[in-house]
Symmetry: C2
Subunit: 403 residues, 2 copies
């Protein structure tokens, strides 16, 4: 008899975004044509030369380092947080993790008992619910209003009804591009204090804000110091998701417990990468590269979202930040199309994603794993030519849909 | 009211070895003298120049990579496993993890349901029981015979009595240096098959074998393919613990589930380090550096273990591999000494560790977190001068113990 793996090992869904990224190239082989890949949750440029050079220098840090992460790096990050959010976190209240993801994974186990509920603002990053389940917590999905914005009244009711212990959101939001306003954050903070729960703010897209908007953080709201935890990292702003760097800042006892667990979970992330991150956060070249990306992605947003909204039946809110467009596509549920001599029907976001792959040669990520099967996510972190071509191809493909 | 963290976050013990490593330097400040640090679970030399150069080259891999790890690296490791253990694991049955530790952390959750029992061979690496607890499993400690060797009869009884689902051991053993013989492994394999349980073999010290011994793996025993899982990595043999690299090889469904979870837990380890690891496992220079370390540590063992056994009341088995000496020190429980005008009594391995720190200026790790409070662990991965001096200092200090 073959031995069985755990229920968890069987039931956890693979990361839809990472899996699709790996699958696009095999789909290209299967279909025999080049696909415009708009699935990717990462910037389209890598680190600057000075940061690369620092990685090499950091290679000499080959021995075990502090589990909490490089102290000099935490010092730098303390300054970054202070400058960008306006709150002072001491280096000992910051922990370096294996990506923001690695920070979240441990946070789940530090904040939740098995069976306790994590409230996740919908739509959400695909990993949130799975990360909660891996810690044997219960993911509870909190619904937005029509514009995909947080709805404080609904939120208050749901947090109470579902006995939520921790609230989790990203702002700028992956996948919607919604950026919470100061007013919205204050409303959320009020509820957090009222119910005395934790709140995790994933602010990893905070350097990608459009229309001159300024990043606002719940950490800077009075009274939030004891309840709020920041998750962030350089993957998006500095173009190094493959280096696996992230950090968590929060109340001392949370960071202490996270560090204890990290000592047994993985000892923290690769030290050469930590060393390079020190340089990256203080490099003028890296700053300019980030600004350049931000401007290009804003232009892409302008072109792409306008184009999507001109397509009959598609509706897309204008992203205020991050680098995604997240249009609704459920008007096409029930439609059909032909491909390779067969008829296919669209009944879900996965079906719509496959339709675009087959007929438009454009890859997006279905909305279902983001909590909204009515939508699809496209990445704007690519060259303008891809954005223009993708729009054309989608437009053409839409004409082949019929009832 | 301050919000509470989870029970787990409160109760998990920090890694004794990593914590001590961080503490030795602050102890030096406290006591005002230089300490000979024999706490470290890492080799005393770093990677060779060609491997460092590969890290720089690998920096260009700044985008997300496959969650399972670099395919070329898995291809290399498939060859390494085949050559060293004599079993063929396809690259798709190998996953790259954030150190061997990061592999174990995910394996716990893939193999155990919450509340199920992991059988850990005593003495054990400090992280094993905490890693099990972090996955809400129950660590059960399986006792060795007098020579710290596995005792198959006892093992069979305990596995049944404690309803063990997974068996976990390291060979060469950290901390004892015991290396399981082919006969012992066959006995263990028989029990594993009989009870149809999983077995995890942590073979990370397999390049550190003394007296011309050859490494034997349970994976190469007939019938073990469906039950056995290998955990290994380059941290020790290639001197890169700070780079956070490890791997797991095993049955397809285990590696598939591990990869799925890893996609949400941390997306895998830093890609530049993975790239360098490809080179490290095929580099002649790196091989020579490993051989050199092995020879030096064998000489250190010869000097140190002989010296320890010449001290009245200390008894140390001769390590056959790894790079530690693990003498018993419980003969001194009840003894006293003076330091800084105060009298201290020795009642535990922690007390004995503090005694050596204060009176011999030698740092070892107390045996308690390895499952044997009667012992203390010293690392042999250091220069011969440190070994000789440490022996002298310990010898002197022992004279100051009294009843």
């Amino acid at each position: 008899m073959a031995l069985l793996i755990s229920k968890l090992g069987g039931e956890i869904k693979p990361s839809a975004t990472l899996r699709l990224m790996e699958e696009v190239s095999s789909l290209e082989k299967e279909y025999g044509f080049k696909i415009i890949d708009l699935t990717s949750g990462q910037p389209d440029r890598g680190p600057t030369e000075d940061v690369l050079a620092a990685l090499f220098e950091g290679g000499k840090l080959s021995r075990y380092g502090p589990v909490q992460g490089d102290p000099e790096l935490r010092e730098v990050l303390s300054g970054v947080i202070n400058k960008e959010i306006g709150v002072r976190y001491d280096p000992q209240d910051i922990a370096i993790t294996v990506g923001a993801k690695g920070g979240l994974d441990i946070l789940m186990r530090v904040l939740l008992e098995p069976g306790e509920s994590m409230g996740i603002m919908t739509p959400f990053w695909v990993t949130y619910p799975e990360s909660v389940k891996i810690a044997y917590g219960i993911p509870c999905f909190l619904l937005p209003d029509g514009g995909l914005r947080p709805n404080p009244e609904k939120l208050r009711r749901e947090i109470e009804a579902k006995n939520i212990k921790v609230l989790l959101y990203s702002s700028p939001c992956n996948p919607s591009g919604v950026v919470y306003t100061k007013d919205e954050l204050e409303e959320i903070a009020k509820i957090v204090k009222e119910k005395d729960i934790w709140v995790i703010a994933d602010e990893i897209y905070n350097k990608f804000l459009f229309d001159g908007k300024k990043h606002e953080s719940i950490l800077s709201i009075e009274g939030m110091r004891d309840n709020a935890i920041l998750v962030d990292g350089p993957s998006k702003r500095l173009g190094v998701p493959g280096w696996r760097l992230g950090y968590v800042a929060g109340p001392s006892e949370v960071i202490k417990a996270l560090t204890k667990l990290q000592g047994h979970v993985n000892s923290g992330t690769s030290r050469p990468a930590q060393y390079a991150m020190r340089v990256a956060y203080t490099s003028q070249k890296a700053k300019e590269a980030t600004d350049d990306m931000r401007q290009r992605y804003e232009r892409n947003r302008n072109v792409f979202v306008k184009g999507l909204n001109e397509i009959d039946g598609i509706s897309c809110i204008k992203p205020e930040g991050a680098f995604y467009a997240f249009p609704s596509i459920d008007n096409f549920f029930g439609s059909k199309y032909e491909f390779a001599g067969k008829e296919f029907a669209i009944r879900s976001s996965v079906d719509f994603r496959n339709f675009l792959l087959r007929k438009a040669q454009v890859a997006g990520v279905e909305g279902a794993p983001f909590g909204m099967d009515s939508h699809i996510r496209f990445s704007l972190a690519t060259g303008e030519e891809n954005i223009v071509n993708a729009l054309n191809y989608i437009n053409h493909a839409m004409k082949e849909l019929h009832l």
